[in-house]
């Protein structure tokens, strides 16, 4: 039992566990203390100082986020001294900040702006420092833009990139007035080890880190009568979008999202979940192929473990950090890129549209997908397979711009041919989902029976634990898979690149003997992606997880290989999974990158 500490906050007594911070203790009483550098996902920095509170008898104030309570502590969160100091601190931040809010991408969703509204900072008492110096604006990356003039130096991004992602692309350089957030040799984010995951973006309180947005390009395409605009929507978008449109976290808005996309003017509204199902067939077949090559033919040109490749932030991380291990990565493109390659070939032909006039847009919970779409490899259709990638946030902006009352929309269904999906495609949006979907299909291919978990729910790979493991023993294999009889297929799942690194280091050092590894660059998987609504916190991720699995349970089909449109696609166009056409359109290769 942890010992209790007795304190009072604004006169109200309470007993809390030893080690509780003043901030958390105040929350128990429903007292809100403002914060800026604090984020629940990150370790405590205590540098912005807006959370200062008074402790009776001490002349110095204490940072509530960083100070554990002590016995007999009498805290005042709203004394005159606290208010005046806090106001000074907000004024100081504003004096150093490019506060032209109307020209800022985060206008209306900014923690600094909220705070300054709350404290009614209406005149500028201090000298404007922001407009007298030169700031770097880095807008070279197709995914992430950084504008130092909007930065309040809370270091949330640095801690994110370090602690959650173990990438370390961002660092603090210089001291004093010249202190700033920078990259290796102050290069563009486009030229360093940055994975484009966008985690720094969803952890930034201001407009200093934002996505490269393609909203105007997409409006232009929609307005162009010559163009046929196809849109695909990733699984995690439907459990996040509502948050950016005043609905509560964890609300499933699939039908409304489809209705909204039609009203925005997209010509075809299709589903990335369809190509997620397709990915399972390709990746599952590749896994079986590798298992056979390694276990039977003793050929390890394509070695085990095989890792998933549907998270482009993870792919780029892998290329930077483990360039010597690239052959472990599945050659499957991500569902977004499989979709793009098929949209301008198979789909264009089916609906009789000139692929040169087709514009392929995707709505993703992800910023790395913007980078991925720009990769030179991703032009197998003969065109740029995916033209524009919008985040969940950008879609919400377009819906607002169009004046659509999102909450009042009816539920509508996706268009056909590449719009049908199964529950297995949906759960791609959560960590462990690809693994679960793959096992549902692979187990059945190998044994002819359903995977032996109640309701097909493979719970060991679910949940928000950093690294998860599951073993599935193959029994009574069908004749052509006899080589797997009795084999215990060892699987591991990691999300967030720091966890990915831990897992892959153990593989690299030969300490792990997995067959199949699923990795998602973002905490929680795509549902916690860098393109999802801000804020994203542990609680919100949990709600989105629940929504994803509800969506899975609500589907009539829950196994990828049962998707009738995928079956049709193979029959009419691709032939075999992992066959010739698939290799041409759906698989790719990787490049070795620098470590910095």
């Amino acid at each position: 039992m942890t010992s209790k500490v007795n304190i009072t906050i604004n006169g109200t007594p309470l007993a809390v566990d030893k080690g509780t911070t003043i901030l958390d203790a105040a929350k128990l009483l429903g007292i809100k203390i403002p914060v800026l550098c604090y984020h629940k996902d990150l370790c405590i920095a205590g540098n912005c100082r807006v959370c200062v509170v008074e402790v009776v008898g001490v002349s110095k104030l204490f940072a509530a986020c960083a100070t554990p309570v002590w016995e007999g502590m009498e805290v005042l969160t709203n004394s005159l001294l606290v208010r005046n100091s806090r106001k000074h601190i907000i004024e100081l931040l504003l004096s150093e900040h490019n506060a032209d809010c109307t020209k800022c991408y985060r206008n209306g969703n900014c923690e600094l702006q909220d705070l300054s509204a709350e404290y009614k900072i209406t005149n500028q008492h201090f000298i404007d420092l922001a407009h007298t110096r030169e700031y770097t604006i880095d807008d070279f990356s197709p995914a992430i833009h950084k504008d130092d003039s909007r930065c309040i130096r809370c270091q949330r991004c640095v801690r994110t990139c370090d602690e959650l992602q173990s990438v370390g692309a961002l660092a603090v350089i210089n001291k004093g007035d010249k202190m700033k957030i920078s990259t290796f040799f102050d290069k563009s984010l486009n030229e360093v080890v940055c994975t484009s995951c966008g985690q720094c973006v969803i952890h930034c309180p201001t407009g200093a880190l934002i996505e490269h947005n393609y909203i105007e390009e997409v409006w232009d395409a929609i307005a162009d009568p010559e163009k046929y605009v196809v849109v695909q929507t990733a699984p995690a978008v439907r459990v996040g979008l509502g948050e950016a449109l005043n609905l509560s976290a964890g609300e499933r808005v699939t039908g409304k999202m489809v209705a909204a996309l039609r009203r925005l003017g997209f010509n075809s509204v299709l589903d990335t979940d369809f190509s997620a199902d397709l990915t399972i067939l390709e990746e599952g077949t590749e896994l079986l192929h590798r298992l056979k090559a390694n276990l039977v033919d003793k050929d390890n040109k394509e070695p085990l473990p095989m890792t998933t490749s549907c998270s482009p932030g993870w792919v780029k991380f892998f290329e930077h950090i483990y360039p010597e291990m690239l052959s472990h990565m599945s050659t499957c493109k991500s569902p977004q890129q499989m979709f793009g390659a098929l949209a301008k070939t198979y789909y264009a032909k089916k609906i009789d549209v000139d692929p040169a006039k087709m514009v392929c847009v995707s709505i993703m919970p992800c910023t790395a997908k913007k980078f991925e779409a720009d990769r030179p490899e991703m032009r197998d259709s003969g065109y740029k397979d995916v033209d524009y990638v919008l985040t969940t946030r950008e879609l919400a902006i377009m819906i607002k711009q169009a004046g659509i009352e999102f909450a009042d929309l009816p539920n509508e269904g996706f268009d056909t041919i590449m719009g049908k999906s199964t529950g297995a495609g949906v759960i791609f949006g959560a960590t462990g989902g690809v693994m679960e979907a793959a096992l549902r299909t692979v187990y059945e291919i190998v044994t002819g029976r359903e995977v032996p978990f109640k309701d097909l729910n493979i719970t060991p790979v679910r949940g928000l634990e950093g690294v998860k493991e599951a073993n599935v023993k193959i029994e009574k294999a069908l004749p052509e898979y006899k080589f797997l009889e009795g084999v215990e297929v060892k699987c591991a799942v990691a999300h967030g690149l720091a966890n990915a690194r831990t897992l892959m280091d153990s593989v690299k050092q030969g300490k792990a003997d997995y067959h199949f590894i699923e990795i998602m660059a973002c905490p929680g998987g795509c549902l916690g992606g860098g393109g999802q609504p801000i804020p994203t916190t542990p609680e919100i991720r949990q709600k989105r997880v629940e929504a994803i699995y509800e969506e899975d349970m609500s589907m009539s089909l829950r196994k990828s290989h049962e998707n009738p449109e995928v079956i049709g696609l193979y029959k009419e166009f691709l032939g075999q999974p992992y066959g010739h056409m698939s290799h041409k359109l759906l698989h790719t290769d990787y490049v070795e990158r620098q470590r910095y």
């Binding site: 200062v52 110095k60 104030l61 940072a63 100091s85 100081l92 603090v172 001291k175 004093g176 202190m179």
Partner: protein, 393 residues
């Protein structure tokens, strides 16, 4: 010139030919005895903050951990201060002895000297001294090793928690406190960190006893202290003086006959104007008459030819550059102060803007994360309040 009003003390630099015997004698006493001796001496830290040394050692000794450290802070970054360098050059064994005794008391087997980057030239001799000292420890059966860690030249790295961060290979940014070093220091382990001079004084106390130390100084400010004296003085240099002197006596001794102000404790210290020379004593906070001032040892004299505006703006430039930059009140506050006094001087802001800036320094004092940002108020307030006209015209 050199009126010698104040008694010159010669304890710190006094050679002790048989230092091994001092260590041996000290180690024959129990830890409790030694801590009580140190507490009885009234020794307070000479690095600036003036925390009672005996209490610091006691708290760290009581902290439960199998791994603890003793660190000697030789970062000496305060401009115009070079007393620690002299101690390490002339009587390094006193510092090493203090560290070793501290190590035994608190339960640490490892000590570090965090040496200012610019003092790299001392390294060779210091390492030779350490080697000799290790041999003595071995002879006396004391398991204790000292290593020198070279600093990088950032002023903020002299702040104890930034110093730990920098030793751990991280950026030198101060940590939140609590927890304090006695619980959570270098590598998160209980750590005693003391200034070079503080450690040298412990040698004196262990050698001669607490009473001899207490004979010097006044209530709450016992013993002697090294002062780095500079500015408008005919006799600059390092002096060991008794604590508790008035600034008036000090000026009569070291001034050039035209002293208008004395800056006590460097940029982070206070400026004492002529009219307050008599009532101000140099020592630690306590029940002294007049104002008492903590000081890292720098005493800078200014005669009437000096502009206090220039002085203040130099200090503010120093802080604006040397702030680690992490916390808002310090990083932005220092910039606002310097831009603010410039604007007043140029007539772009009214004189009353100085009052806004004074209020800002109160916020900085209350909310900055570490001693650097908190102490900017000292020089700002004491200069602006006493020399307001010089700020405006």
């Amino acid at each position: 010139m050199g009126k010698n009003i104040l008694k010159r003390i010669d304890l710190i630099f006094k050679e002790e030919p048989d230092s091994k015997n001092v260590l041996k004698k000290t180690l024959s006493k129990s830890n409790d005895e030694l801590i009580n001796e140190l507490i009885a001496s009234g020794l307070k830290g000479r690095g600036g903050a003036g925390f009672p040394t005996g209490l610091k050692w006691k708290l760290t000794a009581e902290s439960k951990s199998t791994e603890k450290y003793v660190i000697c802070n030789a970062d000496e970054g305060e401009p115009g201060t070079f007393k620690d360098r002299e101690i390490l050059t002339q009587v390094p064994y006193k510092v090493l002895t203090g560290m070793a005794v501290c190590g035994r008391i608190i339960g640490a087997r490892k000590g570090f000297i965090y040496l200012r980057g610019e003092y790299k030239y001392l390294l060779k001799e210091l390492n030779a001294e350490i080697k000799k000292f290790h041999a003595i420890c071995d002879e006396l059966g004391l398991k204790f090793r000292v290593e020198v860690f070279m600093g990088f030249g950032a002023y903020i790295c002299g702040e104890e928690s930034a110093l730990f961060e920098s030793m751990e290979g991280k950026r030198g940014e101060p940590r939140n406190k609590p927890p304090y070093p006695s619980d959570f220091g270098y590598l998160g382990k209980p750590t005693v960190i003391n200034n070079v001079e503080t450690l040298a004084h412990t040698f004196t106390i262990f050698q001669h006893g607490a009473d001899k130390f207490r004979e010097l100084g006044v209530k709450d400010s016992h013993g002697s202290k090294l002062f780095s004296i500079s500015g408008d003085t005919p006799t600059p240099g390092i002096y060991e003086l008794e604590l508790g002197m008035t600034v008036e006596d000090f000026v009569n001794d070291f001034g050039d006959g035209d002293t208008k102000a004395v800056q006590v404790g460097g940029a982070s210290g206070f400026c004492v104007p002529r009219k307050k020379f008599r009532e101000t004593r140099i020592g630690y906070q306590g029940k002294l008459t007049g104002i008492s001032l903590p000081t890292g040892g720098s005493m800078m004299l200014f005669n009437s030819s000096r502009s206090m505006y220039n002085l203040l703006s130099n200090y503010l430039e120093f802080f604006t550059e040397e702030s680690c930059g992490q916390c808002t009140p310090c990083r932005v506050g220092t910039q606002q102060l310097i831009e603010g006094i410039r604007a007043v001087k140029r007539g772009e802001k009214p004189a009353s803007y100085l009052d806004k800036l004074l209020a800002l320094t109160e916020t900085m004092k209350a909310t900055a994360k570490c001693g650097l940002g908190q102490s900017v108020a000292n020089s700002f307030q004491s200069i602006v309040e006493n020399f307001r006209e010089e700020m405006i015209y």
